[in-house]
Amino acid sequence: MSAADQGWGADNPERLYVITRGRSGLTEQTTFDLVTLVVSRSEPTPTMQPEHAAILRICGSPLSVAEVSAYLRLPVSAVTVLLADLLTEERIEARACVPRAVLPDIALLEAVMHGLQKL
């Protein structure tokens, strides 16, 4: 079954509202980029909101915010709200993406080019 068959939370505003407790995710997006890497720092607990538990379960190894959104089938803005909760409780680590400079760092570009050569 594909993601589309299962239906994304985005199709159901009421469900999303419950999951995020009404938060839009716009504030949280300043902390989390689409490619911020997230890693669990604790195990899920039975009393946890299921979405929080799911994030802790799948982020045993690093995953980008975009991947968390894809696996949970929730919009990015809802995922950033959930991640902000977990970060506040120190249940996850957020590995920030590269600083938002106007132009990327030369050493970074060299590293990317070197990596692409192996593809």
Partner: protein
């Protein structure tokens, strides 16, 4: 609640990133419907491409923090993306969109922090790219143009394409076959070289000393 934590299946096997991954960067593939964005993402990605979604307000609607609840005109936009491990620490994400170009620029944070963009064009339908190119220029997002080679596509000399797209002389234009990993890789490489030239202090005639 219809959501069960246990039903969420995370990455398996080769889709897992090593614990050493500490930094990620992104590039965005933009272009009109059917130009091959999804194909290109799939060609270069080392994981089966994934889809992420965002809900966004219509163009022109106010986007402030308290407006979330009473938004009446919101649209869901999907985006597929792939991943390339650059090193043990560094990961490159490649995002492509399924049409609906007028929404890309509403997607909070899609272009912010991106290294750059690839404008994928089909030479049979260049006009769909004008709007995208204009918006990237307005936002100051560096980009290269990749002409996807469909069998029926007329092959234009690069300078003809440049004139047709009204591109400045420094913007690289490359031909590609979105179905080929090597060709897709070369497109990304062209973008990185261009970014390198933009970032490197002049003169750009010598390559950096290898380390």
């Amino acid at each position: 609640m219809d959501f069960r934590s246990s039903e969420v299946v995370g990455p398996q096997g080769a889709d897992l990133l090593p614990a050493s991954a500490t930094m990620a960067v992104k590039v965005v593939i933009v272009g009109g419907f059917g130009v091959g964005k999804t194909t290109l993402v799939g060609s270069v990605s080392e994981i089966r491409p994934l889809t992420t979604e965002e809900t966004m307000t219509q163009a022109g609607a106010s986007v402030d923090d308290t407006a979330g609840v009473e938004r009446k005109t919101s649209t869901t936009v999907a985006m597929d993306f792939g991943r390339i491990s650059i090193s043990d620490e560094l990961v490159l994400y490649v995002f492509g969109t399924p049409g609906q170009e007028r929404f890309w620029f509403l997607w909070n944070g899609l272009f912010e922090g991106a290294l750059g963009a690839v404008v994928l064009v089909d030479t049979r339908r260049l006009e769909v790219s004008f709007d995208v190119i204009g918006r990237l220029e307005d936002r100051g997002v560096p980009f290269v143009v990749a002409a996807n080679t469909f069998p029926e596509s007329p092959t234009h000399p690069t300078e003809e394409l440049r004139a047709a797209l009204d591109l400045p002389p420094e913007v690289p234009i490359v031909a590609c076959d979105a179905r080929s990993r090597e060709s897709g890789r070369d497109v990304l490489m062209a973008l990185m070289r261009y970014l390198y030239d933009l970032s490197a202090p002049p003169p750009p005639t010598t390559m950096p000393a290898s380390r």
